[in-house]
Symmetry: C2
Amino acid sequence: MRSDERRALVLEAATRVFGERGYHGATTDAVAREAGVSQPYVVRMFGGKEAMFLAVLDRAIDRILGAFEADIVALEAEGRAGDEDAVSACLGRSYVDLLGDRGLLLSLMQAFMLGSEPVVGRHAREGFRRVYAYLRERVGLDPDAAQDFLSRGMLLNTVVGLRMVDDYESDENVHELLDELLPTKIDVLLALRGDAT
Amino acid sequence: MRSDERRALVLEAATRVFGERGYHGATTDAVAREAGVSQPYVVRMFGGKEAMFLAVLDRAIDRILGAFEADIVALEAEGRAGDEDAVSACLGRSYVDLLGDRGLLLSLMQAFMLGSEPVVGRHAREGFRRVYAYLRERVGLDPDAAQDFLSRGMLLNTVVGLRMVDDYESDENVHELLDELLPTKIDVLLALRGDAT
DNA sequence: GATAGTTGTAATCGGATGATTACAAGACGG
DNA sequence: CCGTCTTGTAATCATCCGATTACAACTATC
């Protein structure tokens, strides 16, 4: 296997482990086992646990902004890039698709709780600012729409982190909340039930 | 010192530690040092790390619902309990006040990412459902308003977790986002800057 | 003042953790 | 065929983790 392929594999494994166990709780050994390589290897590959987490974080935000950018390009081709409601809806659908990668979203949320960490915290703030600036400057959302979009996203992350879909059938309130939150995409979440990813 | 006072002290210390380091990353020893007691003591006091986290989680949700209940009682006394906008705004202000306890909010968020844990995950889902059911049934919010309220709350948690206020003056976008998110209560967040709590 | 219960700690155990070192197996240019 | 760079692992280290045990100090009740 080529070196960059293996690096990508380890990065995906690290995303899952950091997402489930958090930054402090994740172990380089768990990442190594998940990726099928030795523990010293992942340490040397990234230079340490902290650097590995920064790589996971950067990749997560790159993937989100990459998906958004594809949407914007497509909307521009259709001449609908000025319709703020259409743009928000389109980006929202893309974000829901990203929820399928549980590790990705959870790693992001984990990073968002680390504001007190000197290095990781600064990096996480910078990542969040990148997303906000993208929504305002590239997507063209006004402050109110951008805040609304981000709010909805954070609630989605929470619902995924909690595995709320597991109670979709059994609890009336959960059913109602998820239907309201995901008018057209509930199937994406339901597909995650029982998925140990 | 009385036993229940010391228990409350340990619970507060545990809230701070779990908030900063997450469930897996927190150590009973760190909680003990933070509370000024010995490590075996905190283990025996709660029966183990998991039970201690459940106690932290329950207390956090009780405090939130307690603050909301006080608002509702006050609004009922004024005869304004039917005005959905006034109620939402009032509860929102109470929630922002709770953000002053960084550990409380972060412990909650940490719990919300543990959906895959058999015991803690079920407890966390139940706590979230309690809040949603309270908003719907006691506060009287309709599904859309309840979702909106929760969304805003999750974004607030994220912004606090990231310590975004640290960049309030230095970054134009951050300034704009926080002003929009906290029209009247920005001072509450600004007071948190540099606070190691 | 003896007995029992409560409140707290010191010492310690098996196991895990991040990182370092040393080494093996191949690839590749000369 | 030989030096060297890359890719990977085994062994190991000092440290830390949650939990258990054993024990000390205090309090209350009879």
